[in-house]
């Protein structure tokens, strides 16, 4: 690649990164529930992305690649803090009772508090699907987990939120009709 096209490519890459910054921040915020930490995680993600951009062969897959880096940064951050606990099962904010959610007047705060009560693995899967509109396959790739795990985590996450926010009556009994496949 000649120097000029290399410069153009680099500039384009940085522009794409900047476009993604708000979306990365939103996701980081949804995962860590802390604006300052979310900022730090996004910054770290951007630095790593720039440093490793040669590993991204398909620019069309850039978004998923960035969210993978963000997830790794987030996991690293908590591993540094908690060497022992399994990050996937970690509940970052533990509120006292379901009444807590009902008592909060602001619908946004209520929903965020409910999301914060989810185990981290469920929270990540659900927010990647709901906020980014990712396919289950893409989420499986970002999270490095089987697609069946994506579906079961998503199911548990939405069920718990529904119970907390909508007085949802979960599905009862055994499922007679298993989901056979997704796209």
């Amino acid at each position: 690649m000649n120097p000029l096209s290399s410069l153009v490519s680099q500039r384009k890459f940085k522009q794409q990164l900047e476009v993604m910054r708000p979306r990365l921040y939103r996701m980081a915020h949804a995962w860590c529930h802390n604006p300052d930490l979310a900022d730090d995680l996004v910054q770290e993600t951007m630095v790593k992305a720039l440093r490793n951009k040669q590993h991204l062969r398909d620019r069309g897959a850039m978004n998923s690649w960035l969210f993978s880096i963000l997830r790794n940064c987030w996991c690293d951050h908590y591993r540094r803090l908690r060497e022992v606990e399994d990050i996937e099962n970690l509940v970052l904010v533990d509120h006292k009772s379901p009444a807590h959610y009902v008592e909060q007047n602001n619908v946004v705060d209520r929903v965020r508090a409910a999301i914060a009560s989810l185990p981290a693995g469920q929270c990540q899967v659900m927010t990647l699907v709901d906020l980014e509109g990712m396919t289950y396959n893409d989420v499986a790739a970002v999270m490095d987990i089987p697609i069946g795990t994506v579906m079961s985590r998503l199911c548990r996450a939405r069920r718990q939120l529904a119970e907390l926010l909508l007085e949802f009556k979960p599905e009862t009994g055994t499922s007679r009709n298993r989901l056979r496949r997704v796209k």
């Binding site: 921040y25 619908v107 906020l131 079961s152 199911c155 909508l166 796209k183």
Partner: protein, 242 residues
């Protein structure tokens, strides 16, 4: 016998992750299974609430001394998302439950899918208008009149609230427009029809045009469309975006 679909099935349907054959099975079951429709609606609400909670989280990133001010803008964000909620719920009813062609049919479908509403004797409908399209106004008024007439004839208790904001304020503006006479006549004739304008949208109108919007005398106002939508939803009203 009703076919059973797991929550995983419904989630995959909601997220457009099913292949065509599986999708069709659910679509075919929905019009005949109110419980299934209700479960789907609830999962959809959860999804929309998550989207609402992080709709514009970037806007909260203000310097510390202005962060409290920034928080006050959240109701506006919540409003826009809840309107999306209503639109989708309306779409759901419109496309899956009974293929309704009139507001009466649509109301029946939504009533069936709204557990809170289904427990109530009275039909309580919030019709939200945010577009300034005259054709929509005409359809809205024809359908509303039809619903009010039918309900009166069948002795069915019904409450209708038409909520306007954005370009929808034109519906209630005191101007010589084709629909105005009919709207005023309906409002005078039926005391179970209320017309509401959003004050936030009215302020925005003034900021943009430099003059206050003049509403017809039959119209009332609420401080915020969002609060009205939330209040009504909590009270079990069904919501339709026109």
């Amino acid at each position: 016998m009703k076919e059973h679909f797991s929550d995983e099935h419904l989630n995959a349907y909601l997220d457009n992750q099913l292949d065509r054959e599986e999708r069709i099975r659910i679509m075919e079951a929905l019009p005949h299974d109110a419980e299934l429709a209700s479960r789907l609606c609830k999962l959809q609400k959860v999804q929309e609430m998550v989207q609402l909670a992080y709709h514009n989280v970037e806007a909260e990133k203000e310097p510390d001394n202005t962060r409290d001010v920034a928080r006050n803008f959240w109701p506006a964000v919540a409003a826009s998302m809840l309107l999306v909620t209503g639109l989708v719920t309306g779409w759901l009813a419109n496309n899956h439950l009974a293929q309704p062609t009139t507001l009466v049919d649509l109301s029946k479908s939504i009533q069936a899918g709204n557990q809170l509403a289904a427990n109530q004797q009275e039909w309580r409908l919030m019709l939200h208008v945010s577009s300034g399209d005259n054709k929509r106004f005409a359809i809205l008024l024809d359908e509303t009149e039809q619903l009010l007439k039918t309900s009166a004839r069948e002795n069915r208790a019904v409450q209708i609230e038409i909520l306007t904001n954005g370009a929808g304020l034109k519906l209630l503006e005191q101007k010589d427009r084709p629909h105005i006479q009919k709207l005023q006549k309906l409002a005078r004739q039926y005391n179970n029809l209320s017309l509401i304008a959003c004050q936030t949208a009215m302020k925005r109108y003034k900021a943009e045009k430099g003059v206050d919007i003049q509403l017809i005398p039959e119209a009332g106002t609420v401080p915020s469309a969002m609060h009205e939508v939330i209040k009504r939803q909590e009270e079990g009203w069904s919501y339709i975006n026109i």
